[in-house]
Symmetry: C2
Subunit: 234 residues, 2 copies
């Protein structure tokens, strides 16, 4: 494992730590371990004991659940500044899903024991962490609602809207998803198959709603997507 030189500013964007001043951030950094994650690297595995809390510094990580029959679903994508694995670790439970780097990435992690100390010393960190868990709770509640009633096209629209919010970058072509994503992954977000996603994107491309290519999606007409997401209007 290599050690990487970093100055405290790398934690600036992190939800959990931007409430701290530079000195405290330096302290938080000092007690964590920074490491590179090559693309495809599995950071932790579903079922492993949750003994580490992670925060992404650069790149992109996906959280994937595998079911007994082997089918996978993408629970969420993690961007720079987001924490993951934290809830399981703090609750002393096994990780409920795998986490995999989808890009060459950089993370910092702490043994849960250390994170607990940090949270005691810096209660704002604990509060932020709880708030983030709360938001995820609501988001999952919405997803349960979506998955249990909506048609596939609508669910794919929802998934894509979510990606736009989380990883959308404005360009003159429209809003671009800023990391490479496959149809398979989009299917695993929407609870569908890569075939159906492929057909759906093809149709949206035809209608000028999106412009998609290999592992790359640009949303050209977000309003249409939003419409589909909550009316189901085609």
């Amino acid at each position: 494992m290599m050690t990487v030189e970093l100055d405290p500013s790398v934690l600036t964007g992190a939800d959990l730590f931007d409430v701290l001043d530079a000195q405290d951030r330096a302290e938080v950094l000092r007690v964590g371990v920074v490491r590179r994650l090559p693309q495809g690297k599995r950071i932790f595995a579903q079922g492993d004991p949750g003994i580490t809390c992670h925060s992404l510094l650069e790149g992109r990580v996906k959280i994937v659940q595998t079911r007994p029959d082997g089918a996978q679903s993408v629970i969420r994508f993690i961007g720079p500044g987001e924490m993951y694995g934290t809830v399981a670790a703090l609750m002393d439970m096994p990780f409920p899903a795998d986490s995999v780097a989808v890009l060459d990435s950089l993370e910092i992690y702490w043994p849960v024991k250390v994170m607990r100390e940090l949270m005691t010393r810096f209660p704002q960190v604990a509060i932020r962490s709880a708030a983030s868990a709360g938001h995820r709770l609501f988001e999952l509640q919405n997803r349960v609602g979506e998955l249990s009633g909506e048609r596939v096209e609508q669910r794919i629209a929802h998934a894509l809207v979510r990606l736009v919010r989380q990883a959308g970058r404005r360009t003159d072509e429209g809003i671009e998803i800023d990391f490479p994503i496959t149809r398979q992954e989009l299917a695993e977000m929407a609870g569908s198959t890569l075939h159906t996603v492929s057909r759906t994107l093809a149709s949206w491309d035809d209608r000028g709603i999106t412009a998609s290519s290999r592992r790359h999606i640009v949303v050209r007409k977000l309003h249409v997507l939003l419409d589909m997401a909550d009316h189901g209007a085609s």
Copy 2:
């Protein structure tokens, strides 16, 4: 609104408060409002500002999400001793779903301001609350996985297993769901329709797996149900 005479022991079963001694529990009770909930009463509505934290003392409450097209999904059922509405309130957000009493029930609630004070004075209450939110997070994550790949029968099996764990009562006939539940509600838990649930239960009844009647379900062969839930074996 009527006031109800209660002694502190009513909070004994409550996850959140059984860490407190009798005196502290009495204090917690004193600052809350106890009220009866007739069957069908809506306690709070999706979109309402979350300004109250609730705990069920007796009866049964369902948390239901309504989507723009009018379709509903049952997010969870609340039993005695469970909290609800708390996460939204503490996060100062609108309630993300309706809550409705499915039986004549009894609840206690606190303005969120008061709950925050209680949590400051009794940090164990805050810790319990966070742990409970964490468990719900994992449960929802699993449900997302289930809803996005599994076949209907398997999803209904999951829903029923969940009900057994939460509201199962051993009888000599098998394990009985201890509150009245309609096929419609089971369908809304499993992301299906009352028709499919009706057919599925009929088939299970034939095979001796369950014994269902009007708003009433007894599970006779839990192992078969568990098998179906995670193998998909029929």
